[in-house]
């Protein structure tokens, strides 16, 4: 099956980047802030096999430290926005009524801002740094989880085993946690995997626009932004960070695709 082998490849790539991120300070050959202006923009050599950027910093080391930022931002944002989104979606889907209407109208408003626009607006107002990026992306991220979970809860709560639970005398809270949540978990996990990919692209886009990690920090987006200035004489400065982003995002997409097939066999067709 096409998907299954790519899923494992995806998982392996993610593992490699995760290791790089965790052990960057020890494994990276050079310090990501160690500038050697004399050797700026040098092409890949034996010592610096990915070459050096405009400030003479070893690109490979910066990439490893960059992995730390991208992956941690991705995971943190998805964890926080996931928790908020799941709780809101669960309660609103189960109880319905005015809390549900309020949530849905709030979702409609937030969804009115295309993708990055609101994040750009928030970061531009709060000031460009990684923490504000996390805040902005979380404010946006929970909405997609809430919508997904609400939709799942609406269909699951009509199932007969939930009606049976409701006539067993147990509390609504217990029904939500014990009966509904396990049955909506798989689509949420799939969404979470795709969301990490989305957040990584969003973080690096913001950094590329100078709204995320400040220049000089080892963030892939910032590196690409610096690379754009010197694209004519040193394209390799842009190639490697772009490749890193692509690989990680693709890995998460493969993983998400594979998880969706494993959880929901009917959907193996897409």
């Amino acid at each position: 099956m096409f998907q299954s082998k790519w899923t494992y490849i995806g998982a392996v790539i993610i593992a490699v980047f995760a290791l790089a991120a965790i052990f960057a300070p020890w494994l990276a050959p050079y310090n990501p802030y160690d500038m050697r202006l004399a050797e700026q923009l040098s092409l890949p050599t034996l010592e610096h096999f990915m070459g050096q950027d405009a400030n003479g910093v070893d690109i490979f080391s910066r990439l490893m430290h960059g992995a730390r930022i991208s992956l941690s931002v991705g995971v943190i944002v998805v964890l926080i926005s996931g928790t908020i989104g799941i709780t809101m979606g669960l309660v609103s889907g189960y109880y319905g009524g005015w809390p549900d209407t309020i949530l849905m109208r709030l979702v409609d408003i937030l969804m009115a801002f295309p993708g990055l626009l609101l994040a750009i607006a928030l970061v531009s107002v709060l000031g460009p740094n990684i923490l504000n990026v996390v805040i902005a992306l979380t404010v946006l991220g929970w909405v997609s989880f809430a919508r997904l979970v609400r939709g799942q809860v609406l269909s699951v709560k009509e199932r007969e085993y939930i009606q049976a639970a409701r006539t067993s005398g147990q509390s609504d809270a217990r029904i939500m946690v014990v009966h509904i949540f396990p049955n909506i978990l798989s689509p949420v996990i799939v969404q979470a995997t795709f969301s990490v990919a989305g957040v990584i692209i969003a973080e690096s886009s913001l950094s590329f626009l100078g709204l995320g990690a400040p220049p000089g920090t080892p963030s892939w987006g910032a590196m690409l932004s610096e690379g754009k200035q010197v694209i004519l004489e040193a394209p390799h400065v842009s190639i490697f960070p772009g490749l890193a982003i692509m690989l990680v995002v693709m890995a998460f997409n493969f993983l998400g695709d594979g998880l969706r097939d494993r959880f929901d066999p009917k959907s193996t067709i897409n």
Partner: protein
Amino acid sequence: MLLYIIRRLLLLIFVLFGVVTLVFMLIHMIPGDPVDIMLGDHAIAADRKLLTENLGLNQPIHLQYASYMAGILRGNLGISIHSKRPVTDEILERFPASVELMFGAMVVALIMALPLGIISALKPYGIIDNSSMLISFLGISIPNFWLGPLLIILFSIQLDWLPINERGGIEHLILPSITLGTAMAAMLSRMIRASLLEVLNEEYVRNARAKGLPERKVILKHALRNALIPVITIIGLQVGVLLSGAIITEAIFDWPGLGSLLLDAIYSRNYPLVQGCILFIATIYVLVNLLTDLTYAWVDPRVRLE
């Protein structure tokens, strides 16, 4: 159908109201004194006083909100700080460029997605299907702020077929449109494939064959027509991806559209202009979603004749 439209319009007004309120709050979320941040600390008192009055920052918040809303209803989005020109004019000047880019990207997306999606559904797990699966994975994963520079390196520098930036004839539009359109093409081809595969398993397709209709007609008239209905909504949502992607693409190609206007406004702390751009882009997106919903309702009789 009429009720559907009325409900949708009411919702639209509410959402726009919410969007305007949210955008209004943006300024008031600025840490510290907004005027200092906007003009920088060395600005002379006269300018500071002029800006404070201009934005009405000296008035109580609810009055500011009321005048802001009144302004919007009259199409007045305030004055851009540095150019002293009405924000609305600056936006409308740059709007056509963005529309052109969006249109180019949409064309690129549809040209790539429709054939790839349909063929890979008709011949699942064939060569085209697997390769289109890989291409769409690449399309989704390559960030456009990397794809742009790559295209520039390849087509502008190495092959020198296409100009690097500024807006001009069609040849200027090609690279930006490809940069912006690929992600959408990737997503769309996957959606079309999934939707068509699902429809091909439906009983009315098998019934069409049982009626002795030629395969071409079974696919075009029965399968595809049903499969493309859900795709309409997805195209609507993907326009959002285009709108936000355009901001970055315009930055890469120095394309004089709304996106680059917004970025310049942010870099120069020109918040009235930032506010205006965001509000304008969001309104466009809301109207596009309304249009998609209405098209969806019109095309699907189950909704049209509710």
